[in-house]
Amino acid sequence: MSDIVPAWAEPFFGRGPGPAPSLNLPTPLVSEWAFGDRTGRGVRVGVIDSGIESGHPLVGDVQQAIAVEDSEEDEDAVEFVEGPHEDLYGHGTACAGIIRGLAPLVELVSVRVLGPDLKGSAFSFAHGLDWCIEHGVNVVNLSLSTANEDYAEAFYELIDQASYRNVMIVSAMNNERKRSIPSEFSGVFSVACCEGAEPDRFFSNPQAPAEWGAIGVNLEVAWCGGATIVATGNSFAAAVIAGHLARIVGAHPGITPWQAKTVLAALAVNATGAAPATTPGGRPARRRR
């Protein structure tokens, strides 16, 4: 063995780094294999948003709730307050309802970054993402983004950290043609919406940065106070992809983000040689106009 080992090369010397990530992908790759029992059992899904209304008929119970709030002692820091909280706007509940509808046995983790304190949202949002990466969340739904380039580097580092730890970050593209950080980054599952009512009909887009397309137009979604409203936006499409990823992670624990992208792409409606789903998807989203 050489007496010179350049930095980062250690895993490749001696007996090597261990088995490569493997999925033993079946051919053709079918949804029964990819989604397993379609429940997302045991998968921790973080919803970084305005909170989740626990007990909402379309959501059910929220297993963990963390509020990212201003620190009273240090204006450049935040505090993580654990315990039940309400959804201040309704948006987080909407995303959570979509995820639960697709993967009913996930552990829902509400990471509220839009609290009553009014610190810059991107600041709290970055801390919320960091918390998810550090606390064993498997799939993170980010239906938020920032156009503020001052945060680009922080999010770049966070997305890399998530990727290294097999945390799937699903990030909605901005609803307008503006900078959309971190959804433009290649390390996330970036999502925009398409029409339709079937959540299992999603697209894989070969043209970046909106990598995935899922239903998000005129969807009836959960909202505050046990209510539902009809809403449109990339946010809701992101939640659909997060739900699918929760199913995949539930069926294949330890799957890496790039493997999950391969699986998801094989199930897309526009995949070459895609095998049609032979069993119904989750609860179809109701579409109204």
Partner: protein, 243 residues
Amino acid sequence: MSSRADLLRRLAAVADDLGAIESPLQARRQLQVLCRAARLALDSASVSVARLDGDTLVYEAADGEGDEAIVDTRLPISRGIAGYVARTCQALIIEHVAGDPRFARDIAERVGYVPDSLLATPIVDERGDVMGVLSVLDRGQHTGDTLAIASAFADQASFLLPHIDLTVRLAPVLFAALADAIEQSDHDLAGALRRQATRLPDDTLELAAVLAALRSLNPAARASAVRLLSEFADFATTVRRRR
């Protein structure tokens, strides 16, 4: 600073140079025209523009249903759909707004008009920070991409909102600076200016509008207006002293 008259002349000159007295009004008028153009382009019931002032949305201009009622309304951004848009810089399109009981209650109480649909899009500055929200109520039939059209109007509003914001911040600073400058020579006037700096009344802009209108009169009419206003000011001061 030799005399009060000299100071006031200099104040008038500075205000004139900065356009600080008139510009917010012009900006508000332009915003109102913008709202009307957006409302027509989207065939909608109403369009409004709100400015983000700290943790509050201040509705600066509107056109259509409930426009008079919504202007000058202040709503905290900690609640509501427009608040969410301001907090997240993310446009939101809701089709059956009445399904959100909080929204329906808030708007009905303030404006007396509950729309069926709402499109709210952020108004952002060049850095990407939110400076306000443009809301479209009950858009109708029109050609083109609704969100792109609303977004274009929001971009245009982003050039107007800073004028209002600047003036709202400038006035107290100007008054405070003047108070400091004349502290030695005129203690009473300095005190009055300082009080003004700390609590500008809500009708400052309206008062500025009246003064701007009077200034555009012909010299004779202007002289009459000044005489009339002076007499009223003297009368009001006398009444206040008697109390």
